[in-house]
């Protein structure tokens, strides 16, 4: 990971305004951010602060109003597999098996580059990466929420994305399953070195996984309030970190930002 003069992923002065009927709502206000290759970045903020909108802008699912998102110096205007998304509610296609859900992505992305056998192996390889090889012939309705999210991650990884985008990937899971999946994502990130951007509202999750945490102010017209470098060595161990001073400090910084300076008033 060498630092070149051009950052890997640039978000430059992005504004996003939604227009519904006669009213305009500014969701994001002048967001600028540089993300290095291989970095794990979390975006944290209260509900409705536009963090999912920001992710959709990077994914290309939504267009910026003004400003630009640049990946390797090329402007992002449409969605594509080099910016694979892990959706909050897994978004597996229920009529396809676990294997087929990943295979459809593999076929689409590597249809011309790899042979049929290679694509089959690559699909299985990615399912094994998230420990879901055993359930490859099941349909999404037959597996648990955590397993579905694993398959969603496998589908995204199978596209060999330049940037892995995760929209509250563990939000819908129970605490235990969430912890296991967080560990899995950390292992995979260590192994593959993907650039990853994760939306979350869980402070511990953000501190545990990220190199940097971007804290958003409350919407509408959300801005980047603060960016925190998480200076913890990898690999990180959940148990060891609980007592680590740097971990406690980082956690405190995020909590203070969220609950002192940018309280979510409507939540009360």
């Amino acid at each position: 990971m060498s630092v070149t003069e051009k950052p890997f992923l640039q978000i430059q002065g992005v504004h996003k305004t939604f227009r519904r009927g006669g009213t305009e709502t500014e969701v994001l206000n002048d967001i600028s951010l540089d993300i290095a290759e291989g970095e794990f970045l979390s975006i944290i903020g209260h509900s409705g602060c536009g963090k999912s909108t920001l992710l959709n802008l990077i994914a290309g699912l939504t267009r910026v109003t003004t400003g630009a998102v640049l990946l390797e110096d090329r402007e992002v205007n449409d969605p594509g597999p080099e910016r694979a998304v892990v959706f909050q509610n897994h978004s597996l296609l229920p009529w396809l098996t676990v294997y087929e859900n990943v295979h459809i992505a593999v076929n689409k992305v590597f249809g011309k580059k790899k042979s049929r056998a290679e694509r089959h192996d690559w699909t299985l390889h990615n399912l094994d990466l998230v420990q879901m090889g055993h359930a490859k012939d099941k349909r999404p309705a037959e597996i648990s929420g955590g397993m579905k999210q694993r398959v969603g991650i496998a589908r995204a990884l199978a596209m060999e994305p330049k940037v892995l985008l995760m929209d509250e990937p563990f939000g819908a899971l129970d605490a235990l399953t969430r912890a296991h999946l967080q560990d899995s994502v950390m292992q995979i990130h260590a192994r593959l070195g993907n650039t990853a951007i994760m939306i979350t509202h869980d402070v511990d999750e953000a501190v545990l996984l990220s190199d940097r945490i971007v804290m958003m102010t409350n919407g509408p017209s959300a801005r980047i309030g603060e960016v925190l470098e998480v200076d913890l060595p990898r690999p990180r161990e959940r148990l060891e970190l609980v007592a680590d001073a740097r971990y406690i400090h980082a956690r405190e910084a995020v909590l203070k930002f969220l609950y002192e300076r940018h309280r979510f008033v409507e939540a009360a």
């Binding site: 509900s47 994914a59 449409d78 998304v85 296609l93 605490a175 399953t177 969430r178 511990d204 609980v242």
Partner: protein
Amino acid sequence: MNAMPARPVLIDTASRPASPEKSVAVPPSQQAKLQEKKVLPLKAPANSYAARISSTLRDVAATVIPPLVVLAVMLLVWQLATDKPGAALPSPMKIWSEANDLIVSPFFVYGPQDIGLGWRVLTSLERVAYGFGLAAIFGIALGAIIGQSVWAMRGLDPIFQVLRTVPPLAWLPISLAAFQDSGPSAVFVIFITAVWPVIINTAVGIRNIPQDYRNVAEVLRLNPLEYFWRIMIPSAAPYIFTGLRIGIGLSWLAIVAAEMLTGGVGIGFFIWDAWNSSRLSDIVVALIYIGIVGFVLDRLVALIGRVATRGTANA
């Protein structure tokens, strides 16, 4: 939505099992099942093979006996009401004796116009197959286009809502004028009767495709054809099959109107012909044939729909 963030780590680390990766494979629901299995054998011994057969028989009897009883009562009332000289309608006994060959042997052939009702039904089914087949193809294609476009929906939906209420008989003259030939006109009448629910249901199904699936398709950069086959059709399948099921019922309803045009050997024309020669008993038998075939068609499409939408049913 705004989950308190401080807790999970402490809980997780405290209750984390020795082998974290293995325990992922056994979600709480499966653990519950394992416990159930331990309980079952204790209850099971009383449940013998014979007991299970008798309970199955009881279920069958519960569904078969009530309609049979009602049918018997209806036949009896009908017999009592019409069993006198000069009655307007034939009694069941009279129908049995007059139309006996039609009832007991559906597939006789005595001459070019004197054949069993089974053959007539098959001829009509062929006609319906053409009409309904076209309605299915055009209906799904048109519905897909309308479901995709807000403007097409706004423009065409009111027109379709009006046209779909036009009865099959009313299409006859127009159809004849347009096609100049009875064969295609009959198929057209069936088509135009059956196509509306297919279009409307398909369009609604397409409009209801969750944004999640659209996002997946966009990230994968599926082309329009791939999107149609891989996302649209499977996702809208439950709606499409509802439309097809209504459509097959309507196209069978249109058969009498359609065959008033074509003549020949269809079951619809048979009724028209029997009425012209005052064979009321034959008409009653033909009505029962039509009813049963319509019922079977409906169930058939429903069955195909159930098999085809297995994956989406509990998504």
